[in-house]
């Protein structure tokens, strides 16, 4: 196995009952890349992300992270931002930080505190007292404060205002190192496309396009957002 490949997905199928949700998914992600997993609602993005995080079992095929098959070992090196929060909202931010510190060897609580301070978030506040956008920021800070090899962010921009989106993109950019990679799933393409190295278009459970982002812009003379809209026009 080439050690340049951080993530390898091979011949992956996922059925729920008899319905095929993902069909013959093959792709790999190299170290140091930011990859956009782009698709409409219901295209299969979150299912794929859950498979990478070992929260679902593939029907067929295999997933490797750093050469290891998905499992306990790979969970240590993947930092995952789920679409919906799993945090107990009765907790204060400082309690969540302690919880992460106990749970993950690679969690940098000093970094988390610094980023929260930059964002003007009070660590003594309970999550229930925070707005949805503030909660999303807290969650992202926690995820980006792990020294992971692979960051998998499922819709990180969903509930936040445009100004905060920019801040979140900055946070992602300045907090991943060159040995790590980031996969970002989203349908808000125009907000995120400038930071992407590569794009993967997923539609009806299949990968329909994978390309270097700038090469694709050059070839089509259009933004990724525009190319996506053309391709998936309803």
């Amino acid at each position: 196995m080439s050690n340049m490949k951080l993530l390898e997905v091979k011949k992956l199928d996922k059925y729920f009952d008899n319905k095929k949700i993902l069909k013959d998914i093959n792709f790999s992600v190299s170290k140091g890349k930011i990859v956009g997993l782009l698709g409409k609602n219901g295209a299969g993005k979150s299912t794929l992300i859950k498979l990478i995080n070992d929260l679902l079992t593939p029907t067929n095929g295999e997933i490797f992270v750093n050469g290891n098959k998905i499992g306990v070992e790979t969970k240590k090196i993947i930092s995952y931002l789920p679409e919906r929060t799993y945090l107990n909202k009765q907790m204060k931010v400082s309690e969540v930080i302690n919880y992460f510190e106990d749970f993950y060897d690679n969690f940098d609580s000093e970094k988390a505190k610094r980023l929260l301070k930059d964002l003007d978030l009070d660590i003594n506040q309970k999550l229930t007292k925070m707005s949805k956008g503030m909660q999303e920021k807290v969650q992202l800070v926690l995820v980006m404060s792990r020294n992971a090899d692979l960051y998998v962010l499922d819709e990180p921009l969903g509930g936040v205002d445009p100004a905060t989106r920019d801040y979140i993109l900055d946070t992602i950019l300045s907090n991943f190192n060159e040995n790590a990679s980031v996969i970002i799933s989203t349908h808000l393409i125009s907000d995120i496309e400038k930071i992407l190295d590569e794009v993967i278009f997923i539609d009806k459970g299949q990968i329909v396009l994978q390309s270097d982002a700038d090469k694709l812009r050059n070839k089509e003379n259009a933004s990724i957002d525009e190319i996506f809209r053309r391709m998936f026009k309803c």
């Binding site: 140091g32 930011i34 400038k194 930071i195 190295d197 700038d214 812009r217 990724i224 525009e226």
Partner: protein, 119 residues
């Protein structure tokens, strides 16, 4: 400074344009050491790989060079920077005349307008 990018054009090409202006205007002087790729990426708010690509392009144009283990520097060749400035100025002037042509004004008239504008 806020950098704005047009998503229709490859991002590295737009970063490259900003960098050329930096070199022409002397923000980074001949022979001067450049910030790291990572620092540049943070400033432009772009992906470090995109920044790397823009710098590689500048390097292939000999406008900057890499000193092994020591980082990247602006070329010491002042003539190269002068040439870049000249080319850039011509491009700007051409696009001005093209714009004026569209509204039916020839070169002589266009120059009159230029002279009438206070800086």
């Amino acid at each position: 400074m806020e950098f704005t990018f047009d998503n229709n054009i490859p991002i590295y090409i737009q970063v490259l344009e900003y960098m050329k202006i930096y070199l022409i205007s002397g923000v980074f002087k001949c022979g001067e050491k450049l910030p790291s790729v990572r620092d540049f990426a943070t400033t432009f708010k772009v992906n470090p790989n995109t920044m790397q690509k823009a710098l590689a392009e500048l390097e292939s144009m000999n406008l900057i060079y890499t000193e092994r283990t020591n980082g990247k520097y602006v070329t010491k060749d002042t003539k190269l920077i002068e040439k870049l400035k000249d080319e850039y100025a011509i491009t700007l002037a051409k696009s001005y005349f093209q714009g004026m042509k569209k509204i039916g004004l020839g070169k002589a008239d266009s120059i009159k307008y230029l002279e009438g504008i206070d800086e």
